[in-house]
Amino acid sequence: MIAEWGHIAQILALIVGVLLAIIPMVGSYRGWLNWMQMARPLAQLQFLLVAIAFAALCYAFVQDDFTLSYVAQNSNSKLPWYYKVSAVWGAHEGSLLLWILMLCGWQAAVSIFSRALPLVAIARVLAVMGMISVGFLAFIQFTSNPFETLLPFYPVDGRDLNPLLQDIGLIMHPPMLYMGYVGFAVAFAFAIAALLSGQLDAAWARWSRPWTLAAWISLTIGIALGSWWAYYELGWGGWWFWDPVENASFMPWLAGTALIHSLAVCEKRGVFKLWTVLLALSAFSLSLLGTFLVRSGVLVSVHAFASDPSRGLFILAFLFLVVGGSLALFAWKGAAIKSRGQYDLMSRETLLLGNNLLLVTATLVVLVGTIWPLIHKEIGWGTISVGPPFFNLIFSILIVPFVFLLGVGPLARWRRQPIGQLRQKLLFAIGLSVSAGILLNAVFGDVEHFHAALGVVMGLWVVICTIQEILANQRGNDSLIKALGKMSRSHWGMVFGHLGFAISVIGIALTSTYTTETDVRMQPGDSQPLAGYTVRFDQVGQLQGPNYRGTGGEFSVWDGDRKVAQLHAEKRQYLASGSVMTEAAIDAGLFRDLFVALGEPLGGDAWAVRLHYKPFVRWIWLGALVMSFGGALSICDRRYRLARRRQPSQITAQEVAG
């Protein structure tokens, strides 16, 4: 019964979405105040309806309502309750509903936290978001309805959630990722509204910035969570595979990173307007493209979601509509938009533009690498795969100029920066980072490992440049502490964002270079050396879990005579689906992880065992967290709150006409 109410709420949400897409938009052109004022309540009502639908689906999962085909396929009565809840977004239909919930959540948030925005702008922003929500609600309603029933013949028990997804990482990873994906819809809607009105000014950039940052933070955390989850749950110790689905989330992240920087320039200097709009349109379009790639099943991927031609076609059509429509609007209205500011070739603007171009290049590389196999096959040249070597090669080349510009950028002045004034600081930073990087690598690692040294040099370069930039804020007789206290939160946000990036770069370089991986045959009692430690296979035992059984292996790790860690690795067989899962045992540390996983039984008590030593692997995710913290600081900046506190602007005839 509850499920039916959920279904009705979902249909009502679609209808409200249609109203939201039309009424405020028409009102904004006709200058009808009451039509425009409908935007906020409609957006909030739609959120409420989708939330009801989502809650009903959760309820159906918790209550084991196997009359719903979606529940029957993705849950089981023996599943612990928290996995029942996370199973809601464990497969296609439910995760789409989660996506819509996020979209409507952003919509409602925009409607609440944008009192300072002119009514025309808010009406159009919400109407554009309404259009997107209509697209997705129609998609879910007509091609992938989670409320589809199996009546009158329904199963007694469900087929269980994919064991890979029965994990804390999966409870959190998709919601964060979707929040990021869909969050770019806000930036997209702001860009469309600005194009429609022809008013692309500093105020527009200031309104978009916190929303874009919020989306970027969610995406950053979402990707980091996914990488962390893959690392410990997939059982082979990798943290990034250049899998199409990972690429699908990485592309909007790259474009989004470019976007938050160009928005900053746009707000402060009034230049790069068209570029910024284009990035805002791309970031969301790439999110949609990612959805298409994942949902249509056209790509070979570890994230093989349901492939259904009608679904793929629907998203493809929607994608063309959104990309084509927004680009057409851009071509039509964009020409009228002029950037007023001027800047020299040597200026912070140019440096930021340089890095923007590098980020866009990286995005295009990922895009080409991801869809090239598709094109190749369609042309009739046969099936190919573009693997990690390609991406690794290109990214290790692109990152060098990127990191260099990233260090110089904050030190340079807006408008005009004579090179001579920077020479001393740059030489100091280069000298210190290169010598310290090479020295550190030589002492703690191997001299011949050039990539590790390069990674450390790049990380140190960013850190040193950032510190120099902070110190440069001390002027006159102010003490350093006072100068630091005067720095704005968004300034600190930049500092932490860049430091986080440096941490990730160091982590990536060191992990990729110094990881030791051995696959060995071991029996209880055997010992095996691993990067200076000794790993001993103590014993094997049988396991009995709530919905699985399996084998557990006890390992102890020794540094000489000192016991470093006791590790418990598992091999589980899930009862309902019969699938086998590897639960790796990890001893985590700031400077190294020890990773043990059971491979396959080799007869008797012998097992194939996977032993990894992964130095600095935590730094990759730690860096992502620090970056996100930086983003959060920026959102908290005073000027965004001031903008909110200001009285709602009156609507002038001009604004309405615009």
Partner: protein, 163 residues
């Protein structure tokens, strides 16, 4: 031309040249780094589309079904070998390492490796999909051609469920 326009022209040209170089480089490195996909019968008869046979020493990706009863393990190490088939011809895969959890006889797998003999491949990576019912579309397609109602086709329809 006034200086401003000149500067703009210079910037545009620089960007275009940079872009051209970048695109060329990307395409070049991609041709160096793509792995062509073969099925066992394509290894022997040449690719369906072009008829080109792989050369010994070539890096490639192969997909097929593991022949039941063909898995041979070394008793003292992790060395393992097994045969792959799709429409008849057999190709032997040699691998030193841990096979994935879903590796079973009779199931579809994909391996990345180097062709070391006319019908032997030394794999450095063996992949089986997370879902029991999932099969790489390429394999499903290749196998489906022989068994219109067999395993391959079922797998081609049923790729749902895995994340």
């Amino acid at each position: 031309m006034n200086p401003r326009r000149k500067k703009r022209l210079a910037t545009t040209l620089a960007v275009l040249v940079g872009l051209g170089v970048a695109v060329g480089f990307v395409l070049f490195s991609m041709t160096q780094n793509i792995d062509l996909f073969y099925t066992p019968s394509e290894i022997i008869n040449g690719k369906n589309e072009t008829g080109v046979k792989p050369q010994i020493g070539q890096r490639l990706r192969i997909g097929g079904m593991v022949l039941p009863g063909s898995v041979r393990r070394d008793q003292n190490s992790l060395k393992v070998s097994f045969d792959l088939f799709d429409q008849g011809p057999l190709v032997t895969i040699e691998y030193d390492g841990i096979l994935p959890d879903l590796f079973r006889e009779g199931q579809g797998i994909v391996a990345n490796g180097v062709l070391t003999g006319p019908t032997t491949i030394k794999a450095h990576e063996v992949l089986a999909k997370h879902d029991e019912e999932y099969m790489p579309p390429d394999v499903a397609e290749a196998v489906g051609k022989v068994h219109p109602n067999g395993v391959g086709n079922k797998a081609a329809e049923q790729t749902g469920g895995a994340y």
